[in-house]
Symmetry: C2
DNA sequence: GATTACTGTAATAATAAAGGACACAGTTTA
DNA sequence: TAAACTGTGTCCTTTATTATTACAGTAATC
């Protein structure tokens, strides 16, 4: 799993802490310790899903489009990292002589899909707002 | 997630299909489409956990040590890939001025741990034997 | 309408991770 | 002693990820 998911979550939590003004990609990047261009790319994705509103030009930037309580980590995962868990390892040269080799691919794909669903189901229980709240009360689990 | 987990599962399913003799790393590598040295490395790990028995020298190789029905994919995941889901992205230069940045790391670590637990809990429902069985009856889900 | 401060996005470069290949010591059998 | 194995470390290539740069497009402000 790459870090795009974490950056997205961190950015959104940051935005949720600033409900009344826009934040520029540079400001977010400083918080998240990455580069403004990367932030913009990731935020583009979140904008397509309707989670943030963006504005170009002077005074522009990013702001939450909907209620932080309505956005789950599952939502973010699905828009940013879906299939990140799936194995990239793949070989189609399977010798047709062996039943195990020819079918294992299907079996593993199915298992990874299901396992990822369980992963996402857990993430769906967590909202951006709940993370912000936990941080605010300094009661970090 | 790297492919070591998949290679381990495939190898074990293959071994489960040969309960009465040892298979060499070369034979397994042919099935799994990787290199004998990589198979040996991964099998070493599985041997440490007691899932396979190994034997050096002529006629040596690998064979199942326990019942294929007793080994779950969760077992394999824990021995081969634990923490594969965890984010590697990490920055300790968090500016102490911002509450979000300073605590987000703890929060995300906790979330990834829990999410991985859900992932593993699903894998614990699947045994090597059940995979072999599904393949044998050609009823691949 | 020119300037400034932004986003959007692509291209390239640098870095990190994964996997393959090889080597060789150690072990067991014959 | 030779042959067929495992165990393990190291190097090299490939691939994936991330950083960096660049620049066109847009909106506000002077």
């Amino acid at each position: 799993m790459n870090s795009a998911f974490t950056i997205a979550v961190h950015s959104l939590v940051f935005l949720a802490s600033l409900p009344d003004r826009m934040a520029s990609s540079e400001e977010i990047a400083n918080q998240v310790f990455t580069h403004p261009a990367r932030v913009r790319k990731i935020m583009s994705c979140l904008r397509n899903e309707g989670y943030v509103k963006t504005k170009e030009g002077i005074g522009g930037g990013y702001i939450f489009e909907c209620e932080p309580g309505a956005v789950t980590l599952g939502n973010i995962y699905r828009s940013i990292s879906c299939n990140a868990l799936k194995l990239h390892w793949c070989s189609n040269e399977a010798s047709e002589t062996c039943l195990v080799s020819t079918h294992i691919q299907d079996v593993m794909n199915h298992i990874f899909n299901e396992a990822e669903n369980h992963f996402i189901a857990y993430l769906d229980h967590i909202t951006i707002e709940s993370i912000l709240h936990k941080i605010k009360v300094k009661q970090v689990f």
